[in-house]
Amino acid sequence: MNRRREARVGILFALPWILGFGIFLLYPILASLYYSFTNYSILRAPKWIGVSNYQELVGDKVFIQSMGNTLYYLIGAVPLGSVGAIGLAMLLNTKVKGIAFYRTLFYLPSLVPMVALGTLFMWVFNGDYGLLNSVLREMHISPPNWMGDPSWAKWTLIMISTWGCGQAMVIYLAALQDVPVSLYEAAELDGARLWQKTRNVTLPMISPVILFNVLMGMIGALQVFAVPYVMFPGGAPARSTYFFTSYLYDNAFQYQRMGYASAIGWVMFVITLTLTLISLKVSDRHVHYERS
């Protein structure tokens, strides 16, 4: 096949994505940037107001609080989720009987719809008759009122997200199965114990996957929405579970302030980008890529 024809076929094959990119990414990004400088509701056409939306955001206590909550959630959920997912994957990478059953069991939470998760955990964490507190009382620990106490409510959500780390776990599992056995054998010959093998062989070998999962985890954490929306209507208690996306959603679809919502989206975008770039920079020295 000659080059020109291959190029034509190539572009033709890529066309769905090129169109999708234009319609569902490029256009919305530019439009949202424009909207963020306007006063815009779905009923009225956008009206240019310059940087007022951004100025308002700086002094908006609810926004500041939602930003704080989101970062708090991220700082809690991402490390816990990563350690949990890597730990589980290592555990599930051992050759013991019934491992397929355990793999399914630990992956199961990732299959549950967010809304079902929310309703389910409203039960588990209920202060009075919840499952968790009944168990804790049984163990003579006086339990906190998880969902009613602002300082515990976010941790309730962080624990739920850790419980659902199966998605990342499966990816780690696949990565672990790809680490050459010869490396472990060599390490064993050198007298390496479990921890040394983990530190010097396993972690460096799966480091690109760790970076990928951490990035995905951060992007996901910044967008947390459905579980808190279901479990904590309005960000209760005391708006301690009110996040970026909650405020963006409310502004866009409850208060009809779509320009303001777009500005929130852009702050979120900039934060995502900054965190990603920092992670890439920090990880640069620690991530080991195989040459192939």
Binding site: A7, V96, L108, L111, A116, Y129, A174
Partner: protein, 285 residues
């Protein structure tokens, strides 16, 4: 301690940790199952009652025909049908479009391809909420708000994550195979459908399952675009069982939840081998 002893000890320890963690992971599910078959009077006891005094299987049909004064009828079967329609469309769209686009990125040479692929990867960082307002306005202008179209049409245009995954996989297929097909006179489309697609089945399964789960579970999309209760999907409809003023029929809600989760568990159970193999051999890692 001899090596064999140490190994035995390690196996026992592994089992112990797996069982303890397994119980923690399973507890909420067992609780859902237990509650789903309880009489309403036993749903809020303290301490919690794991084994109900009677197994009420009638909760399942009751959940489907649930009728409350406050909420009216909750058409669970209609929600199920809506969810199935949207999910099937999304899975078909995602598998077809991502496969063909990934093929172009992996196997065909065209100018700007690598730059465009880099851009594609970068788009994974854009949070969906940023795009939410303009996308909504766009669908509103098209008159699509209140229909299923905003939920499935975008699936036919591919997605960065799936393209990335499939591209990595396609790259591992020896180019000799497609060259041989071409020498035999097969067109590019023919080479794609009869050489590459059959070999890529594990990776395509991964894409199908991820899409299936993502669509089946999607909450924000239906929340934004669906207006009429009759068009709701399951994940949105589940919320209808909860009432702000108490009196939520927990046993029915959990029975409904179980019915919603069940198809996902069944699909995963049957596909898990191909699924994990697909992840292992494709680009995610």
């Amino acid at each position: 301690m001899t090596n064999t002893q140490r190994r035995t000890l390690q196996t026992i320890l592994t089992h112990f940790v797996l069982i303890v963690l397994g119980l923690i992971f399973a507890a909420p599910f067992l609780w859902v199952i237990s509650t789903a078959v309880k009489p309403i009077g036993e749903t809020m006891t303290s301490p919690p009652k794991w084994i109900p005094s009677e197994i009420k299987l009638s909760n399942f049909p009751d959940a489907i025909t649930y009728n409350s004064k406050e909420l009216g009828y909750i058409p669970l079967l209609v929600y199920a049908r809506n969810t199935i329609v949207v999910t099937i469309l999304c899975v078909c769209g995602a598998v077809a479009s991502n496969a063909i686009v990934a093929y172009s990125f992996a196997r065909l040479k065209w100018r700007g391809r690598d730059t465009f692929f880099a851009i594609t990867l970068a788009t994974m960082m854009i949070p969906f909420p940023v795009l939410m307002v303009p996308t909504f306005s766009l669908f509103k202008a098209l008159g699509w708000v209140g229909t299923f179209r905003p939920l499935w049409v975008p699936a036919f245009f591919g997605g960065a994550f799936n393209i990335f995954l499939l591209r990595q996989f396609f790259k591992t297929i020896p180019s000799e195979l497609s060259e041989a097909a071409k020498i035999d006179g097969a067109s590019e489309i023919r080479t794609f459908t009869s050489v590459v697609v059959p070999l890529a089945r594990p990776a395509l399964t991964v894409v199908a399952i991820f899409t299936f789960m993502g669509t089946w579970n999607d909450f924000l999309g239906p929340l934004i675009y669906l207006v009429d209760q009759k068009t709701f999907t399951l994940s949105l409809g589940l919320q209808a069982y909860q009432t702000q003023h108490g009196g939520t029929p927990w046993n029915l809600l959990m029975a409904a939840t179980l019915l919603v989760i069940l198809p996902l568990v069944i699909v995963f159970f049957f596909a898990q081998k191909v699924f994990i193999q697909g992840i292992a051999t494709s680009g995610i890692k």
